[in-house]
Symmetry: C2
Subunit: 202 residues, 2 copies
């Protein structure tokens, strides 16, 4: 007697769903059964959205953010943006949190990672040469280093500050301090130290 | 100045992913970015698996379990299965837990729900007529009612027992009692009551 199992195509769907991050065996099975119960429209709609996205989305040749293939992103194409402000981020996914803060009106530059010799990521693997070209094209601009404040982020910021120091630009770094809405009780020692170092007059 | 956002096709992908149960806005965005970073293969593979599954999977005309469209399921097609044992479950998704227990060698019958007048589900909405036909075709068979032990499940079991009482078959119900590996400390009062009622000699 063969044990009853899902048809082959359902098992394929389960294993494809399971490859997504944060989806385990039971979660994938639950999603697969949901798709079968919803009927073909739901599954076909997601399938089309996935295919279209990966086929049509590439990176902006200027800043590296997501853009329709072969096109510049909406920020690089927007003449109302201040091209004398350049915000350097690690990944394209770091752009949205800054945009959503509503307090930046300049352009972006995505490095594509951070310097991390242990992971084999060296400065030449990042879009640093392109950054230097862009800074040279806008003399007198401000470069805001919005890389992370972990060890690799700090190393990347230091390296960039050194490289950019030779160019006619001003180099700044995101402030470090207490996050909004947080009490001292939940802050770690390094955050408190940096908040004290960076204190401002009222 | 327009705020920078993901390209339209990425936003479409995010909203399609968000429709899946248990996936919120941030989860959908995280999955979408993961697909973009993985390259086109990963997304196309999931898209193909989804489309193939919903296009090719239907229900077994005999028992209602998932099967390739127009075909009977592997259990109904297996001559080694005992056709004098019929396990009645609410949903097609209830078959796998029983199969995985490795202790059932008969056939299944999926009702497609449970009697619940409050939700507008009446006996005629379930595959009960088909069940009666199958029982008539196998006189002397045993019908195991493996429906849930909630109010609607109990109502369904009672209704089926009454209908099947007129036919030449034996009607049984899954045992109720303590789940394997659980201590008394975690059991609710009704489970303990039913475990006491159903106690067995050693």
């Amino acid at each position: 007697m063969k044990p009853q199992d899902y048809p082959r195509s359902v098992l394929n769907m389960i294993s494809a769903l399971k490859r997504m991050p944060g989806v385990g065996t039971r979660g994938a099975e639950r999603l697969a059964l949901w798709f079968l119960q919803q009927g073909r429209n739901e599954a076909n709609q997601l399938a089309a959205a996935l295919t279209t996205a990966v086929e049509t989305v590439g990176n902006c040749p200027e800043c590296g953010f997501f853009a329709e293939k072969g096109c510049r992103c909406t920020a690089c194409d927007d003449p109302a943006r201040d091209s004398s402000l350049l915000c350097v981020v690690e990944q394209a996914t770091d752009v949205l949190p800054i945009e959503r803060s509503g307090s930046f009106r300049g352009l972006y530059h995505c490095l594509g990672g951070k310097i991390s010799p242990l992971d084999g990521v060296m400065p030449e693997d990042l879009a640093i040469e392109k950054l230097i070209d862009r800074v040279k094209a806008h003399p007198g601009c401000e470069v805001i280093l919005a890389v992370g404040s972990d060890v690799e982020g700090e190393a990347t910021a230091l390296y960039l500050a050194e490289q950019l120091g030779k160019l006619p630009c001003r180099c700044t770094r995101l402030a470090q301090g207490m996050p909004a809405g947080a009490g001292l009780g939940h802050a770690d020692a390094i955050t408190v130290m940096r908040a004290l170092e960076g204190r401002r007059g009222l």
